[in-house]
């Protein structure tokens, strides 16, 4: 497994101080220093340890169901006149890529001797993936979720509870993902010794962005092998992924970061439109600042107050992006596009009818930009289908044309 590769020479990977270009770092209060320092000093050694890799791989194979298929979407390809492959993270246990990270981090937590796990969740996918691995390992699990999200994601709340997790409502601020993350960080401050925080995306203080990217990098590791077998080349022309915090994109890009012939496309959620006042398109609307202890691009007022984003997709409804992605944006390595609610819905209905696959609302944002790429017939495009649409059925039914 390549998750422990030395990234010292890469322009796009984290540097020894925890930065990607001018983004990243660990802007943490002193109360968090021992926890974060422990992770910083140990995560690479743990990830490169053969016993860790063996256990991680075995669970990914037998429990998650990896490798996830790389599926040639024939009818979708005909429609967009190119060769489109879907990386089927939706077929993973628990229905999304999130489980790759939670399996890895629970193994890290065990090696650090932690007995209690906390997590934040927006739509509930990461919360379910965390509750799942905690049940698997018999560890106590507390998931923070905005009180507004608890109301609108009832099935995932029920799943977490059935899996034995305690779901705690975040009632501060705007009562959504940003505030759930604040509450998880506050819990960690108050429980500095026995608790590991399984952060769900490639954001937060160093080493989380890098650790999460490495654990998700199994996605691009598999794409390389699968594409080689199917087309004779490891490299597609495009890798397309949606971005909230950016964990599925980080995993899908990881082994292609330094292969500049592969175009990386990131799709943010434009909500009702980038300039509508109801959007989550961070690179378009954001400026540099600190969110959840990371220096990155975020949506904020002129006075430095973090603002509330909007997207139909709860998983993309985050006012920042991970520091690696801020650097990919600023350096021009990745092309950033955005899809509106309406475009994403249309793409979800299209994939359902053309390929018999109902995608997650988040993944539908990535699919929605196929129409805007200057695709040629010989172009090979890999779209990361990060999750399945079961959790979004209410939304899909509500918006379905009569």
């Amino acid at each position: 497994m390549d998750i422990a590769i030395n990234t010292g020479n890469s322009r796009y990977q984290v540097d020894k101080n925890g930065y990607y270009g001018r983004f990243g770092g660990a802007y943490i209060p002193e109360m968090l220093y021992p926890n974060v320092e422990e992770l910083q000093s140990q995560y690479l050694a743990i990830l490169s340890d053969p016993s860790f890799q063996q256990e991680f791989e075995a669970l990914l194979t037998d429990y998650v169901g990896r490798p996830s298929p790389l599926y040639f979407a024939k009818r979708l390809s005909e429609k967009y006149k190119s060769k489109i492959y879907l990386k089927r993270e939706d077929l993973n246990h628990t229905g999304a890529h999130k489980i790759n990270n939670t399996i890895g981090q629970i193994l890290v937590a065990k090696r650090l001797g932690k007995t209690r796990i906390i997590a934040e969740t927006g739509a509930g996918q990461h919360g379910v993936a965390t509750a799942t691995v905690c049940a698997l390992m018999g560890l106590e699990c507390v998931v923070y979720m905005g009180s507004i999200d608890i109301e609108r994601q009832a099935p995932n709340v029920a799943r977490m509870k059935m899996l034995g997790a305690t779901v705690v409502a975040a009632t501060s601020g705007s009562k959504t993902l940003k505030d759930a993350t604040n509450e998880a960080i506050r819990d960690w401050i108050n429980n500095p010794v026995n608790t590991h925080y399984i952060l769900g995306t490639a954001a937060g203080p160093h080493p989380y962005p890098d650790m999460v990217a490495r654990l998700q990098s199994v996605i691009s590791e598999e794409i390389k092998k699968q594409l080689k077998a199917k087309t004779g080349s490891e490299d597609p022309n495009y890798v397309v992924a949606c971005i909230g915090g950016g964990s599925n994109a980080a995993g899908a890009y990881f082994h292609y970061l330094d292969r500049e012939n592969v175009k990386l496309v990131a799709v943010e959620a434009a909500g009702h439109g980038v300039h509508s006042g109801h959007s989550a398109a961070t690179t378009q609307l954001g400026t540099i600042g600190i969110i959840h202890a990371s220096k990155t691009l975020l949506m904020q007022t002129d006075d430095g107050q973090i603002t509330e984003p909007y997207s139909i997709s709860a998983g993309l409804d985050y006012p920042g992006i991970g520091p690696m992605h801020a650097h990919l944006y600023e350096s021009g390595r990745a092309q950033f596009l955005s899809a509106t609610d309406e475009e994403a819905l249309a793409a979800a209905y299209e994939l359902s009818l053309l390929e018999g696959i109902i995608p997650a609302m988040e993944s539908a944002h990535a699919l929605a930009k196929l129409k805007d790429l200057p695709l040629k017939e010989e172009d090979v495009v890999v779209v990361c289908l990060s999750g399945r649409g079961d959790k979004d059925l209410d939304t899909y039914i509500r918006h379905m044309k009569k």
Partner: protein, 257 residues
Amino acid sequence: MQNRIDQLFAKKQHGVLNIYCTAGFPELNDTLPVMTALQQYGADLIELGMPFSDPLADGPVIQDSSTKALQNGMSLHVLFEQLAGFRETIQVPVILMGYFNPVLTYGVEAFCAKCAAVGVDGIIVPDLPMAEYEHEYRPLFEKYNLHLIFLVTPETSEARIRKIDSLSKGFIYAVSSSSTTGKDKDMKDQQAYFERLKNLKLSNPVLIGFGIKDKATFEAASAHANGAIIGTAFIKAIEHSRNIDETVKTFISGIIQ
């Protein structure tokens, strides 16, 4: 001119009372009346909170005061307008406490210059790491004679405490337990930690904060350090106050008399 925080500790080494209040709370224009009353009734230091949308190190009471202050219209620009000329009436040292994002957005140098211009003496930014401060921002704070005050916790190693001591100016903020603000933890459990701090014979004075809420906890903390910081309990006291002056008077007399 010598920094007012240093002047204070030059003449008072025991029982220094530092009270925290959120700027623009409970009403937007209460900032100065609260500060005036704090000085009048015996606070030695005033720590003024710059409200932030996402105060990670704070418990619910200070979070809510921050949210309320933002709803009231508080911002760094408004705060500096309110503070213009406050040195005509208030002589005690004043520290601004807040998170790094609003300061970064305001511009760190512009912020320091403004603090110096209105007469602020020190800054607490809990999420500005020591390494970033040392490599990037220290010359700016020193240029404007602003003391940056760092936190230490029961989990902070001795080597790190010494490093923090070497970078801190004014005093060191010793967090009584690893927690967010306003948590009730038993002060007795922290005795060993306070003793350990005392025995390090640091070059800076030490004030203890988090969980200090009344005369008993203030005196317990003061016995081990140069004084203590009260935040959450004071915010609770003034939250629904109809008469700021009277509330502050009652609150402080309950602590130091």
